[in-house]
Every structure is written in structure tokens, then in C-alpha cells.
Point group: D2
Chain length 492, copies 4
């Protein structure tokens, strides 16, 4: 059974982080640690999982559709993955479509030996690079943007593997957190802006890399530090480590949505507790958009930390006015009579006796299409709520992401189509407010957003993309020639 | 993928309700409503599910191991179950062992026509009755105690199906909430003490029965009332309904653990909000066992409502000091080095930056074996907590349940082996307190426990079993003859 | 992959024997021998297979849809079936419908202990007996006629298991070859007329029973003798054996179609080589229906022995004018253009260069519906055959079988609808001839058919049924009341 | 269930043809025809099957382990393969190992568009070519030798697809019968010596290519002619066809073992009926190695045509002394007691009553390891045969094949280790004779073998390999350096 994202509505009304990566070198049962680590990153990608291990001689790969636990929890599965080094991946299908051949890690036999890579992010000029490679005779086995990196490495004229990899990455534009394994060891690196996260830990003598610190916790590793934006770290089998900065220095722009929703609340992102950030967004919201009410009710589970912050700041009691089922994922056949909103109720049910006759402040992390928000407001009213005020723990999401997050096209984003007043009417709330962009920056510990050089990538809120978007521009140009309607966002 | 109970530790350190039942008569797509209703009862039994429908001529049955969504979410599955009446069941395996032939509803072709039954509870003289039936030539197809009821009905000399069923149930001892379907309609009944729950609702012209009101909510049905203890309700295809009280009157003893843990917080049990009961247990706990601390931290998710109550009563802030993974269920292969307590961390991870240096009150719903409580206390300390105080939202669980709940034998119940002080030492908390039995009764809206005639079944706390336990006594007698060590609990 | 009968056309244009049984007692790995034996009987039933073993304490059962090799060839499968006694079954679904619960051996826990039975044959008053049992409270778990026997045994008042079994069988009418296992040993018996086959062999110290001698050959057992019609043989675990004749003496009527088609040619049936019988049918055919031709061509594989006989008697060379594929069973999607008769060609293809311009005598074992015969004649003509003469190694099959053979209703039997001349026109042959009923009896070593008391059951050719057919008569009576058209055959 | 080759002994005591190919262009449901055609070629490869179709815009591929019928018989499967052009493949795993990624057709997105290829044969310099390609940055996705061809095409500098393909094939050495599809149409070609077979047919307006004519018969296509050795035929979507001879002329050397065993007897190979060839080998054998005996008995099924020829020439009656089971393929767990030779008996059982006391001439097509021949001789003796004379319808097989046939290494070939007299002693026959190499050539219609320029490839009998064997030579050279024992055969 493939459960979808537990925070997800059935109609996919959330932004979706597309990947998590985990690597370990120097551990006696590397694949077992890798499986546990990926399991802790399951919320970052639930469609498929894969692990590649290396036993000093050969590489072993096992991939599967579905959850980590479905594919990597048995001794048999781990037994197929011997060795002291392993790299793993969980994924959604953003670029590349579904299907087993796109499940990472991707592996290739190069002239220099085996090469396995796990990639979180999105290469925004992958189509262009792929076209060039194919025209020179390269044969792609997947539709994944990650395979472009492998072919660039395979055809690089540089002598060492590290040089080949740097040579390849210089041609690549966009966001990437990569873990690479070769017969000589492991390398981990983040793109120059550090858009996607990657951290490093220590597990006995072994070195561990992971998308989030929660994965270090679960495998019992100690958190050392994050891999810095633009940094490439090499680790050998003897444990020796070298850090490189091949792309020079530039100010970092990590993804602020990791604080809002993607990372687990018990992770530490960009040197700050994610739980703390979320609670403080609630505090900021209570300051920016106060309201008189009886209860603060989170939309579970992602709205809970901000709701606690809102409650503490406002003094309005925190109560579970919506109960969340733990058994979600499938769309059921709807009986034709009755069962209004059975879909949303299957996941979220009103706590009627609590809510009836009360003024409710609902707290959710974000609004994407708005359809689920509308249903939840209606559910509160059906349960007898006197007033329903909606507070959102992020600014309006009006722009698509091209850095490895699955966003609907702009015309389907509620905030891409209307202003706050219209949105409030659409979801039928008594009032609606979003935290301001500066409030969000304050909540993550900064004085506010530095317009000239923002400290985070916040393109989904501001449309301010920190890299070129070559493939998108080419597609727009082609569509313009064909007179196709062009999604207005974002390159203009 | 079969997820186990989401509230469950990997080592099963919870009591487990064993079943949920759902029935609908008079709906145009009865099986689809039944599937949705069972899905809402999934927390009551996750090992297997089954639905039997009737289309006016024939009965159709589909059963499957695993979750409702895995077996009954597709149009194909529902298409195999035509008709206006359907009854369904989710189960754990208490009595009867695992295996498809024990998955309910059980069905038989009797001389009077088809007969399907879904049963929540446990018949405490099933072995004795079975022996008698087999000696007369009955051939059993399952090892389920429920099949005894069918054979008693099949061999009853009474003329009508209702009389046969009453005749059968008079021979039966223990706990049962039953939904029965025959070519003439549906009957629902609870044992004379009403130990297990059963409620009735209305969905358009259709009548619905379910273990909990949450299932009515999810299918969009209106909650009418509970089926009373000892009541049998017949519903015909024309919607006419008759209530019977074949067993006379006796004071009811519904299971108080439904308030503590089994029912969903958004259900109404015994005419009271379960969420409210749980929050009030927290309030009672804060009164009975106050402590100075920085944060009230629930063991998620079952400890949350009591923690909110404790926080509101004590004024100590409610915080998420433990983050729960949504992806649980499988035991993973443990890497041999590192990964201490990876098992418990896979499910519960400390929110380190919050907890470090703080005094924590942990709130959990119950302690069964104590092993998980011990690990969670240790996890808090590893995360730097200065003090860890444990508060339990139920009295000590010192006795087994023989009414359809999966309990370890008494010698494995922590409260069956030691007093509170020893338990505190075992789990290594700075202090430990349980709500008192009277506090629990107060929390569910009563003045306290009436010792002469308790208003609930609370045998797991008190050892006061409200029915004879024939099979258990016979087993003890047989073991005594063999000089086998006898579990001291409970018949002596 | 479930291959259907290898001799079968896709449209089922053959009579189908419905079962094979195999039992062994006293062998150290009884289930392994049983699996091999069933594999050798696979041609008698390919829909499902099952084995029940007994290890001195408990019975173990494993059943599966499909072939023996798919379900019982692994060590894991055999490991689930420990013990020195095992009984197995392969089946088609004649009476009882498909589905796992009808797969034999059937097993029941009786008051006297476990009871497993494997049955080849058909009980012609099963419906009537079942009705009576259900009216007394019996609950059936299958729709198989065999279960009637178990309930009759369960409710028999006789003291010993053997007496109970005899008591049960006295109420039963029709054809049966049974192997029964209980905690006390094994019993094997044939109905009083011995319609279905059963033989006994010795494998070291173990005793073996099987439907055909080929199963003895394959497991390495020595053929001792057949179980006599009306005989019941008991074998204990110490190897002691007792023969009973509980039904008195009556002249035997074994099924003559075992010689024609059902048994493997390397089996010995009714003390005669099946291969020899088939070759002699060919000899008789050549005498009764000679023709001038260039080649004798068998319809492979079942027509081969008769074709050799025809060739040797007539002097016309035996040639493979039709080549049979070894990969049959599935119906393929037909491309809409081209591919005329691809269905039949998938199985049988003309050996064009041989056949072109030649006069061909085709030899097949029988004609049921005639559709395949028609296609094969056409295939010979398409390949350029100058003349096609059809010779059939059995008399016209004009009547249904009610003794465990799957026959179409009479109106679909070609010989039930038309005479030989019309049949010849239907299949478009240049000439058509069947062996005479007396020729068939001569081929099996008799002087001819004794009309007053035939030596075999030949009801499918003659309509002369050797037992009452109670269920059929009741059905006809019921249909007559409803004025439904009644299939004329056979009770009138 | 994966049945292995029906002619195969359980211990693989046959040479195995490794592939069959089928292609169709211009048919409205190309994939359905392709599935049927592959089904008719199933005997050429049973491990896996695949089909690639093209609908004018996109290519669709479906592959599966097991038989064609298991993977391609349903409407659903065919529905996934739309379009008017399809190419398919059945395979054993000779070069390349097992696993889905080696299942053909192989497909690649080249700069010039999609490219799918199905290949029967073996490239004897594949390792060397692969090494060169990888060193230039090529990334292989399979271990199949066929992928070398695709990479050579992808990196060819020639402008048109046809030129690229010819350019690639010029670098390739060994045996190949190829069907290639591109967005522009289909191409079929055979290596310059025409070692592996390929024929062309017409199905309405569509053009069909197949390994054997039997596949044309089954889909209802008319046989046009064979693709000539060294010929490349292009077919466009409008049906226009062009024949090329890019490799110049050289005398052909088709594989003579197609006549002996690989092809189906109803196929036409190298302009001659395979059935006729096999019968004539029997005639030659009877002339070269006559014997006095009672019966000629074929080892079924592959020995049947030669046995008919031997019988007709010698006048000794042809009889089925060995009966073959239709249910083969799995190795069963052997019971420890009894069941001597149960393995071989599971497939072949003696027709005891026929054989007892008789002098038997056994006819088989070939002897590879000799183990099965030994067991069959022993089975005849166990059944009471007075004399057992073995006649083999091919010369002694003393040399490995490197052209796409799975042969054991030379030291395991019986004829590689001993002379005829020793072989006779090994299999314990009363006499043993093989047809002479000239007798074999006479049987296929030639005056005898032309030593200077043999008309067929007969390397497995003579060691006369018609091409260089580069990879083998390199491996031998490498092993010689390591002082490993080198299999003496064949390059020296």
C-alpha cells in the first residue's frame, strides 16, 4: 500500500518537496543505517526509494516503488546490499516522470569505474544539456535530470573523478544537493546557493550525510554541521575528509519553505530549530492578525506548531477541533447518496461537541489551490462553529518553484489568481490573514527580508528567482512561436 | 504495506481493541458506505477487513488481510459487493488466530437462508460450547469464537431467525456487539452489560450501525443513539425497525477504556465526548499529581488531549517535545553499530533544542509493559532534559481483559508486577503518577466509582470481572491438574 | 501460468476427466512422494491441487490454484507438510464451482479427530443429501459434493470411523474413488461399480494409492493390484492392511473412456495396457472403415496410438502432418486483420510441404462438439491436402456423463444432434467413420459388448446409465413444473 | 510458472537456441500479431519476452520474464502497445546474464529519434567493442552484447540511419539476425554468413519478418522468402521495400543445427522442410547403422521424425516405448526413499508392457552431456527391454558454439571427452551410432559436405568456425598470462 504524503489532501493541495538523500561511509552495515535514515526522511518523498551499496569490489542496487519500509525493512533486502558504503534516495516524481528507471540512486559503469548518485533538487537547464549530449551519441536510460550529471561526468576530459564532477557541475544550473559514491569513496555537495539542504554527521567512525538532521537522530549519529552552499566534501574509506569550494563564494539562498513545511519540526535547518521557527510564525501571525475567538484550532498535523505559537501569544486556548485519521492515502469509491465531503472527512473530522457554538481560529501552514481550505472551513461550520477565522503560517504562494518542488502551474495557485480578500471569499472564512514576508523572516531569526540580497530563496512568495531558468525560457520561447497561451509566471 | 496500530510501539506496548463493526441497510451502494465506515474504524483493527453485501437474492463476501484501503477502495472491489445491505468488520486477532478463514464477517448457508455476522467482543465460554457442538456432528470452518454463534443459530429449534439468534445468545457468555444480516434484513445487538460499544445512525433513508460515531460522521450519517446494553434492534428492507430486550434488564457496564484509549477522540461514547473525557483526565491528573515544570509534553498522539488538559489546569505550557513519525509499522533490521534505540526513535524523536535543559512533564494514556515508557524517558534525558516527570492518564493496568481486548498475561503487565514506586524506578522517571480510579470516573462525568455496582467495566484496573469466565476457569483447572504454573489473574 | 489441458482445444472440445487422487502411508517424506505422484496425474485435473499430511499429531494442508509444480515443487512447500502419511488431489471443477474452498483434500475436525478426504467421481444425489443435512443444522463450507460425505460421517451414530464411513457411503449414489486419512491411518475405496479407477502399490515399506499406475511408476512404486469395485482397504501406520467389501457383490462397470482418452497411455487400467487398447482401436478402425490414402496423420497427441494402429493395419505410412505446439493454454487477443484460425494454429499447425497434394487419413480419439475437428480438416485443405478422411477412435459421444466427467449438455454434443453423415458434412471431411461400440469392446480385449450386462460403463456412447441419477431427476421435475425446456438426455 | 524448454531434460542436456525475433510493419494491430508470432517461436527462448511498438509518434515497450502467453495474451497488455509497427523477441540468456534490463527489444532515444532492436545471434567481439565505447564516455544500461550495436549506431558519424547501422555492423563480428525499428520504418538483416535464420512474409498489406516460417503460419501470413545472408531489407510505412547488400558477397554458412533440432519441424529453413530433413537423417542413420530389433522407439518429442524415417527405411515398427509428460519444467523435491530416477521419469516414462522382452532401437536427435541418454537406456532396461541400441540423428557434438547457442564448455561435452565406443559404454547401450557428417549433409539435400567451403556452419561437429572469435581469444590470452587452465576448444 502506497500511502501518500500524510500531510496531503487527496487533491494534492500542498507543495511537495521532491526528494531526500542519505549516505554513509565507513559503517559495517551501511545499507541498514541507510534504510533507517531514509525512513526518517520518508516525508520528503514517498513514491519510491532506492539504495546503492559498495563492498570494496562491486556496487549493489535495490530500488522499489512505495515506502522505504516496504522495500528495505527485511534482512533479505539489506542482505542484497553488502558493504561499508551506501547511498540512498526517496523521491516524488517532479522532473522525470514515474517509473522504476527514474528511481535513484542512478548508477553507471564509467571507464573510471562504478558511479552512483543521489540527487535532491532540480537542474533548470537539464533539457538543453541532454539535447547536446544525445547529439554526440549519448544514450539516456532514464528521463531524470540527474542522468545529465552522469553523462557530463562520463564525457569529461578531466583526469580525476573529483575534477570530472566539478567539470560537470559547472555546466549545470539550478538546485542540487548531491551524494556521489565511487570505488574511491563518497562525495557530498550543495549548489552554490545551497537551495536544497544537506547536513553531515558522525556515527562511530562512519561519516553520514543526510537531507535533514532528523535522519541523523534516528540512526544515532551526532550532528556535525551542514554542508555549506557551494561546498564539496570528499570522504575516503579511511575516514579522511577534504572540503572544496570549487565554485567560489556567493551569498547563500537556502529554501525558506523548509522552515514553513518541508522539514520535520524536530530537524535543525540552516542552524535553527524548525519547530521554533514554526511556533514563531504563529507568534508573528498573532501579532500581525489578532482576532477575538474561543479556540485556536490547528489543521493537523502541519499547522500544530504555529497554532501553539498563536495560542501562547494571544492567550486563546489551543484545542483539537479537527481530528486527523492516521489511515490516509487512498481515494475511495464514493457512495452516491449521503457522504458529503467524505473525502476530506476521511482524513480530517470535526470534533463536533467541542466546536459547536464556538468562535474558531484555524491555523494552517499554507494555501496552495485553496480547495482543501474551503472544505475545512465548511466542515467547521457544519459542526456548528459560530465564526471561522483562517490564519496562514506563510505568505501567499503565488509563484511556481523550479528547484525540486512540485508546484501547480501558476494559474492554479489561489494566490496567483486573486488577492487576499477574494481568497477569503473563496474559502468562505469570516476572516483570512497570511503572515507577512518580513514576519516570516523575523520568525526565522532575522530582522526582516533584505530586499537587495535576500537571505533565503523565497521565489514561491516573491517571484524573485535566484538562478537563470534556461529550459523554462526555451519552452516559453517555443510556445510563443506556436502562439500557445503561456503561463505568465515567472520569467519576463 | 500493513501498518500496525499508529499509536502502537513496535513492541506492542499498548492494549489493543480487537474489532470494529459497521452495517448499513437501505442504501443504494451499501458496500461503498460500508468501506468508508470501516476505514473510519481502522484504528480498532488493522490486521484484516471484510465486507458481506446482499442484493436481494445473493450474499457476496470479500475479505482481505491488511487495511480497508488496501482491500476496499477500488471500484472493482466495491463492484463485487452489490446490493442495498452490507455489513463489515475490521479485526485484530485476539481469539481465533490469524488467517483468512477467521476474517469476518463470517457467513453460512443455513436452512433458513444466508446468515452473515460481524462481531466485536469475546465469548468467554466459546471453547466449551464448541466442544459440545462438535460432539453432535458440527463441522467448524474457522477457529473464531464467533462461529460458535452461527452453529448455535443453525441448530436452534426455534422457528424464526430472531428467536434462533436470541436462543443462541442466551447460551453465550462474555462481551459482544453484533451486526447480523439475513435475507430478511439486519439485526444489531449488544450483550446485556453493553461491554463493547455500538451506535445507530441514519443516512438518508438508510439505517447505519457502527462501533463508533466517527464512522457515522465520515459516511455523512446522523447519529441517532447508541444501541442499549442488552438491546436487539431489527431493521427490515422497508426501513421499519423493532427494538427488543430479550435478556431482561441489568445495570450496564460499558468498557471505560474506550474513553481512555480505544475510541477516537472525535467519537461520542456512552453519551459523552471522548476528547472531553481525555482532557478532563488531564485536568484530574494535574489536580491529583501536580509538579513544577517548564513544559507539558504529550507522548503523541494518544497523550495529546490529556496533556492539553494538564497544561490548562496547571498553567505549564504545552509543547511538542516529542515528534512522531507518520511512517511506522515495520521493524527494520538494526545496524549493529550505533543506532541505539533506533526502534523507538523511528517512531518518536526528541525535539532536542526545545527539551535541552528543561523540566518536562510527560503525559501518556497508559502503561502496559513499561518498556516503551522507559525508552521515552531515556530519550528525553539523552536530549538534555533536566527533569522528567511521568503522568499517566489511566490507573495502573494490572489485570487482563477477557472481553475482546488483547492484553499481555498478568506477569508481563508492569502494574501486575510492582507498585508505583517500583514502576517509577523501572522507567527511570523523576516522578510517576497515575490518575486514581475515582479521578477517572470523575473525568467521565460521574461523581466517582460506585463500588457496589460500578458504572463501567474497569476490570483491567480493578480485577472486578462482571461476567463468569468459563473457558479460563476450565483451562486453569486443567493446568492445575498438570501442575503447570498458573497465571494468578484473575479467577480465584 | 495456468496451462489448460494440453490435449484441449481452446474451446474445450474434449471430455474432461475431473480428478486424480494419490495417497501414501508409511513413507518418511510422504508429502514429497505425494507431490510427485500428483504431478504424474496432472492430466486428470489442472485447475487446482492440494495435499494434506499427518505427522502423528496434527494435520497440515496446502492447496493452490494451478499446477502441482507451481504449488508443490519447492522444499518450502513440502516442508509445510510434515509426516509419514499424505493424501493429495488434482481437480477440474465439475460439481462445486471454482474457488479455493472447493480445492481438495477437504478436511474437518470431527469429534473423533481430524478427517481428510480426496475424491474422484461425482455423487449423483449430493444436492438431496445436502438439503437434508442443512435442515438439521449442518453448515457447509464448500459447494463440493465431497463435503456431503464428511457431514454424513460427522453425524453418523456408528462408533468407529470405518463404520461411520460405510454408513455415510451407503447413503451416497454415483461414482467415487476415495482416499481418506484419519489419525488412525488411511482408507481407500471405490464405489460398488468401480466406475472411477484406483490402484494400489508398494514403495519400500509404504503403501501407495493412486488413480493410475503411471503415478506409481513416477514415484518408483511397484504396482500391486487395483482396488476392486466396492472394496474398501484400510492401512494402519504399522503397515497392516484389511480389505472389506461392505456393499456386497455386483458386476463391475469401470469407465471405458479411461481406455479411449482419460488415462495416460503408459498406465494399466482394468488390467490392460492403455496404449495397447488405443493402438487396437486403430486396428479395428482400419478394419471397419478402410480408405485409400497416402498418409495416416494423427491429431496430436491423443490420436497418435490409434494412428499407429491404423497405419500398421492398413499399410499406409504414419506421418506427422500436424505439428503441435508445446505452449498452449491461453487465448490470445486476435489481431483483426489476417490471422484466420490463429487460435487453432497456435496449437496445431499443418506440416505444409508434407501434406500438399496428398490424400490424408486423420485419426482423432473422439468428437465432442465438432468445432475443432472442422477447423483441423480445413487446416489440412488450406495446406493443400487433396482428400481428408476423418477416423474417430471411439463411438459417437451422444450422452452426458454424471460420474465425474465434464461433458457439455446434450444439445451441444455433435453426436447428440446429428447422424454420422450430417457430422461428416459439418466437419467438411471427405469421409467420416467412428469405431463401432463392439469394435471398441474388442479393442479392450473382449469379444464385444454384452448388452444384458455390459462389462464397462459406456453411458456417454449408449445412454445406458448404471446408477440412479436422483439430483438430475429432481431438477428435471422442477424444470418441468416451470415449463422450462428440458435437455432430453438422459433420464426418461 | 515458467516451463523450461519442452524438449529439455531437467539437467539441461540439450543445446539451446537462444532467441527468436518477430517484426511486423503496416498491420493495424501490430502488437497482437507480434505476440502471436512470438508465441509460435517460444521454443527458441523461454526465459523472457518483449515487444516494442510504434504508433507514428511514440515507441511503447513491454517486457516480462517467462512465456509470451504469460505476458502478452491479454487485451490490457496489447493495449499498452498501440501502432502499426511492432518488433518482438523471445530469449534465453546466453550473453548478458538474466534480468529485465537485458530483455529485448532494446530501445534508445538517439539524436535521430527512437531506435529499437531485436537480435538473434551473438557478437563475438562485443567485449572489445564495449570497452572502447565506455572509454569514450558511453554509458551502458545492460550487459547484453546487443547494446553494443546501439551505441555504435548512436556514435556513428554517417548521416542516415541506414548508413549508421551499416557503419555499426561493419565493426561487428559474429552472428546476427536483426530487426530494427525507427520512426521511419523497419529494417531486417542477417550477418554476411547468414548463420542465424530470418524469413520474410506478407500479411495483407503488412510485411512480416520472423526467425522461422512457423510464425508466419500462425499469424496467417504468406511466406515470401528468406532474408539472404548479408542482406539488409528496409520497409517503409507505405509498404515500399528496398534490399541492400552492404557487406558484399561471400558464401553463406547457415547453422545446420536448425535442421537437427532448433527449428520447429513444420518450419522451412534454408529452402527445405525441417521435418523432411529430420526424417531423412533417420533414413541415413538406418542405412549407415542398421540393427536387428523389434521396435524403433523415439525419445520424444525431438526424436520422432528421425525415428519415423528409421522405421520406414528399416521396416522395423515405430512404437511409443517412451511416454512423455506434458507437464515438465520444475525440479521437484525428491523423497529420500524410493523414487529412483524420479526426475527423468517425471518427464519420460517407459511404456512397460510394450517394451518388456523386446529389442529396442532408441532414436534421439543429439547427445550433449550424455547423462540423460544414460538414464533413458537404464529406464528401458528397467522396463525389461532385452536389447537397447542407441542411434543419434546428428554427428558427435564435440565443440562449443559462439554464435548464439548455449553450449556447455568443451570438457562437459561427452563427444569432447571420448570416442564413440567409450560413449556407448558410458550410456550403457548395446550399440551406439551417430549419423556421419556427410550423411547429415545428404539428409539436408546436398551430395555431402564440401570440405573446402562447407555449405553450412557445422562448427559444433567439426570445430571449423567461420568467423574470428576475438573476445574468446582475448580471454584465453588473459587466462594464459594468469596460468589458468584454458578450455582447449577452439581457437588455437
Amino acid at each position: 500500500m502506497n500511502f501518500t504524503h500524510p500531510f496531503l489532501d487527496d487533491d494534492g493541495d500542498k507543495l511537495r518537496e521532491e526528494c531526500g538523500v542519505f549516505g554513509v561511509i565507513g559503517a559495517s552495515e551501511a545499507a541498514a543505517a541507510c534504510a533507517l535514515g531514509l525512513h526518517a526522511l520518508q516525508h520528503r518523498g514517498q513514491e519510491a526509494a532506492g539504495i546503492t551499496s559498495f563492498d570494496g569490489t562491486e556496487f549493489y542496487t535495490r530500488r522499489g516503488l512505495g515506502h522505504v519500509a516496504e522495500n528495505f525493512s527485511t534482512g533479505e533486502a539489506i542482505g542484497e546490499l553488502p558493504g561499508h558504503m551506501a547511498v540512498g534516495h526517496v523521491r516524488y516524481s517532479t522532473t522525470g516522470g514515474t517509473g522504476m528507471r527514474n528511481v535513484q540512486p542512478l548508477y553507471a559503469d564509467l571507464a573510471s569505474g562504478g558511479f552512483a548518485v543521489a540527487h535532491n533538487g532540480n537542474i533548470s537547464n537539464a533539457s538543453k544539456l541532454r539535447q547536446e549530449l544525445v547529439s554526440k551519441g549519448a544514450i539516456f536510460q532514464s528521463t531524470s535530470d540527474t542522468e545529465v550529471i552522469i553523462h557530463l561526468v562520463a564525457t569529461s576530459r578531466y583526469p580525476t573523478m573529483l575534477d570530472k564532477l566539478v567539470d560537470a557541475l559547472r555546466l549545470v544550473e539550478g538546485a542540487y544537493a548531491l551524494i556521489v559514491t565511487t570505488p574511491r569513496g563518497m562525495a557530498a555537495c550543495r549548489d552554490p546557493l545551497g537551495i536544497r539542504p544537506l547536513v553531515m554527521g558522525r556515527l562511530g567512525d562512519a561519516t553520514v550525510f543526510a537531507s535533514e538532521t532528523v535522519a541523523l537522530d534516528v540512526v544515532g549519529a551526532e550532528f556535525i554541521r551542514q554542508v555549506e552552499p557551494g561546498e564539496m566534501i570528499e570522504v575516503d574509506f579511511d575516514g579522511s575528509m577534504r572540503s572544496h569550494r570549487p565554485f567560489g563564494d556567493s551569498p547563500a539562498r537556502p529554501c525558506i519553505f523548509e522552515h514553513v513545511y518541508f522539514s520535520r519540526p524536530d530537524s535543525i535547518f540552516n542552524e535553527r530549530s524548525v519547530y521554533e521557527s514554526r511556533k514563531h510564525i504563529g507568534v508573528e501571525l498573532a501579532r500581525e492578525a489578532p482576532i477575538e475567538a474561543d479556540y485556536v484550532v490547528p489543521v493537523p498535523d502541519s499547522g500544530v506548531p504555529a497554532a501553539i505559537g498563536y495560542s501562547q501569544q494571544s492567550g486563546i486556548p489551543f484545542e483539537l477541533g479537527i481530528i486527523r485519521s492516521h489511515y490516509v492515502g487512498r481515494t475511495f469509491i464514493q457512495p452516491s447518496d449521503g457522504a458529503r465531503h467524505a473525502g476530506v472527512k476521511r482524513k480530517h473530522n470535526a470534533n463536533r461537541l467541542l466546536v459547536a457554538g464556538k468562535r474558531i481560529v484555524l491555523i494552517d501552514d499554507s494555501i496552495v489551490r485553496g480547495t482543501t481550505s474551503m472544505k475545512i472551513v465548511e466542515m467547521m461550520r457544519d459542526a456548528g462553529a459560530k465564526e471561522v477565522h483562517f490564519r496562514v503560517a506563510s505568505p501567499p504562494t503565488g509563484h511556481g518553484c523550479y528547484y525540486g518542488v512540485d508546484t501547480p502551474e501558476r494559474s492554479k495557485l489561489l494566490a496567483g489568481r486573486m488577492d487576499v480578500e477574494a481568497m477569503c471569499a473563496f474559502i468562505k472564512a469570516d476572516s483570512l490573514a497570511f503572515v507577512s514576508i518580513d514576519g516570516l523572516y523575523r520568525a526565522v531569526g532575522l530582522p526582516g527580508r533584505t530586499k537587495s540580497c535576500p537571505q533565503y530563496c523565497d521565489a514561491c512568495f516573491t517571484g524573485d528567482y535566484p538562478t537563470p531558468l534556461t529550459d523554462l525560457e526555451q519552452r516559453h520561447a517555443a510556445e510563443a512561436q506556436l502562439n500557445l497561451p503561456v503561463d505568465p509566471d515567472p520569467v519576463s
